[in-house]
Amino acid sequence: MRAAVVTFPGSNCDRDLRVAMESVFGVPVRALWHGERDLPKLDLVALPGGFSYGDYLRAGAIAARSPIMAEIVRFARRGGLVLGICNGFQILTEAGLLPGALVRNRGLRFLCRTVDLEVTTTASPFTAAYGEVRHIRLPIAHHDGNYVIDQDGLARLEGEGQIAFRYRDNPNGSTAAIAGVLNRERNVLGLMPHPERAADPRLGNTDGVPLFRSLLEAVHGAGS
């Protein structure tokens, strides 16, 4: 598995994500600096949580225009796997790799808690390993996690089965309780919850592990 995590100025879950991925993948995960203009040969690029550029202007907006993002867009268009978590999700929507946008939580406050989620589809390289397990719990920690998309867009997401995760008790006002979406080609996933914070038994929750295991299996085949 050749995977990398990008660090933007203001990213703060980059280390957490690398640690979680390494524990599941069993190999080192590269750290990429946002200013780099070439991607090494990779199977997976992940954009971590945090406050890239302070979330100034709009969450993820400035990071989405970083030099490396042009490369990542190209990588995704060629079918490479791209995962965006929290701020990474915001960056992916800002970069146009995923539909919709993320705006301020309905309650206007930052919200950090563990929420109940439904795995809406297992037909993706990010969620296959959830198998029969459709009800999971993952931590959220965000201020701008309220997913908005227009009616047509929503109909398309639903029609194509692109909704990957839904909140069971919508904490932030997201349209149709959407917590994570896939692109139409299903090689890009963005989600607000933090699977990397639920990948270590010592922290009391391992519901994020199957997400990383799905990726490993997608790249190396099941049984890896």
């Binding site: 202007l57 225009r65 919709g100 705006v103 309905r106 206007l108 908005v148």
Partner: protein, 80 residues
């Protein structure tokens, strides 16, 4: 040259902050209130050879960074 860019949510996109402001004003007793909307203003000072060039430049700024076309619209006004 100075310009004002005004950015607002497209009609139909819910604005939780405007809704909260409206609710709070009402609870504070402003009974005559009928609606609240928000916009952000970004004022830009730039060098340009003329209004056309300035406007093109400002439009590019909006398209490339300042506004998110999925949810926002923008308007440019040159001040001088």
């Amino acid at each position: 040259m100075k310009a004002r860019i005004e950015i607002r949510l497209k009609p139909g996109v819910l604005d939780p902050e405007a809704a909260a402001i409206e609710r709070a004003l009402r609870q504070l007793g402003f009974a005559g209130l009928k609606g609240v909307a928000r916009a952000k203003v970004i004022e830009v000072e730039l060098e340009a050879r003329g209004p056309e060039e300035a406007e093109a430049e400002l439009r590019a700024m909006c398209e490339r960074l300042l506004a998110n076309p999925v949810i926002e619209t923008y308007a440019i006004a040159l001040l001088r």
